[in-house]
Symmetry: C2
Subunit: 310 residues, 2 copies
């Protein structure tokens, strides 16, 4: 257990925390795993499926004696939970979080934590559209980025130890400055999600007049949006409220760009559209080359093989 911790506390038991529990057990990265969730139903489910070694009735109880504390609650709930656990943290413990926004989490959490506790904010770029304690699986983080945004004066030994632990679950660990993280994520994740939500909302509006046609014929394009837009509403509400400036900045650029394409359609400017679409194709290649997705058509989803389809 060179990369592991004796006692790990998971605060929040959703997709990320439950995947961490599975991954830690798979790789033998924790002596004991405690867990707490605000919802009694979630705690009961976690106990029922044996997600962690000990489901606790309070966050304070879960973090007592823990060497690593993982805050895996929506970004908007981080501050309150930090205040709650602060007096119960073991001296020398490492506290990290898995929030999709980092500046707001740092501002909400850091002031509560006592000296001697190492707070190292983090964000795994991994997930599915499912949520809850049953949605986790051990390989969620394999070959995915886990960004750490250590604060000024962070203990390099603690950062190294946490990095080794995350790498032990299969993640590729990288460091990034807090504000830069929030800008990059606004581009690669937050704004795309908002746009997907919007497009699905438009379709829902129209659905009422097209008699389920929208759902029925969603095979091309639209269904990929719905997957993105099926993610946890609480998590995403908090992301947009707390990464407001960067999201609004990218949204502004998006609208400008969209209006330019819209104008090209209205004016019948085929050359402009063709050039634009050719350029975006190259970006896709870059992503495949960077190993962030499969080159298999349709995500390898496609149709069943001939024998299965008979």
């Amino acid at each position: 257990m060179s990369a592991g911790f004796d006692r790990v506390a998971l605060i929040g038991l959703g997709l990320i925390a439950s995947s961490m529990a599975h991954a830690m057990r798979w790789k033998g990265l924790a002596g004991e795993i405690t867990g707490y969730a605000r919802s009694a139903e979630t705690r009961e489910t976690a106990a029922e499926i044996g997600l962690v070694d000990r489901v606790c009735e309070s966050a304070a109880e879960a973090v007592a004696g823990a060497d690593l504390v993982v805050l895996a609650v929506p970004v908007g709930a981080m501050g309150a939970i930090a205040a709650e656990i602060a007096p119960h943290l073991k001296p020398g413990a490492i506290v990290t979080d898995v929030g999709s926004v980092k500046q707001a989490v740092v501002e909400a959490v850091a002031p509560h934590l006592p000296a001697g506790v190492q707070f190292i904010p983090g964000h795994p770029l991994a997930g599915t559209e499912h949520s809850g304690p049953r949605s986790g699986f051990a390989t969620l983080f394999v070959n995915r980025w886990w960004l750490l945004t250590p604060l000024e004066g962070a203990d390099p030994v603690a950062v190294e130890r946490l990095s080794g632990f995350l790498a032990g679950m299969g993640a590729n660990v990288d460091h990034m400055e807090v504000a830069r993280h929030d800008l990059v994520l606004a581009v690669v994740s937050h704004t795309p999600h908002l746009i997907a939500y919007t497009m699905v909302g438009v379709a829902d509006h129209l659905r009422r007049v097209t008699h389920e046609e929208v759902i029925k014929y969603s095979a091309s394009g639209f269904r990929d949006f719905t997957r993105i837009a099926a993610s946890d509403p609480t998590m995403w509400r908090d992301v947009f409220l707390t990464n407001r400036e960067a999201t609004l900045d990218i949204l502004g650029r998006f609208t400008e760009e969209l209006f330019m394409l819209q104008r090209a359609i209205r004016m019948g400017d085929g050359e402009m559209l063709f050039d634009y679409f050719t350029r975006t194709r190259a970006i896709r290649r870059g992503i495949i080359e960077a190993g962030q997705d499969t080159a298999e058509p349709n995500f390898g989803r496609g149709a069943p093989p001939p024998e299965a389809a008979e």
Copy 2:
């Protein structure tokens, strides 16, 4: 070969036509398959891989004697190819197309075709982000919708025969009125594609200042957009130019909706965001229930299983 045709001519040898060739052979739906593509390179590739029984040097040659002619070229090229083949069509032949827009295709193709030839416009809701004669596979249409938009006065026997042939390749055949098709597709496919192109364009713009971070960290959200935006540029240029009115209509609704969400972010209206995101989640469920996608997380793409990831 009850559902098949003696001679089928494929005009255009891209993803759809090459998949049809594979599917027809898999299911024994054609006596002879001829093929033509404008590009000499495509014709050579088709001959090299034995995609069809006979690669022809002209569209006229390919359609001569064919019982079924499939126009599988970009929507903007349909009119010219229809004019070219018209004098060479066999009396009683069925002509169909696979264009993503139907009103424009009807207007471009129908005037050229001689009496006695049955023109039945069609559109398979199937595809991947790949293109060209090597991209086809036999199961592309299995359990996918193939919409037919028969014109007023279409011969019901011919429509029935074509439907049986398409069903033979595994497709679920449905009929729809031409204008309605173009509106529904603007919602479920055309506008989502334009939005994906736009978002990828915004990221490309920013990429120059973020040193490849956008590509590197595209794991969540953004990469699904890039897949959509990697589709064939010529095809999509023609879609937007020819389904202009419906696309602009839906884009207008999209922008209104986006501005409303953008305002909620700016004002910090978490309740509105939460309600909106909860509603879109229900639409996703509708799509899964309609059998148009898998409920597996992340399209079943996810990570490798534990043993493979070791």
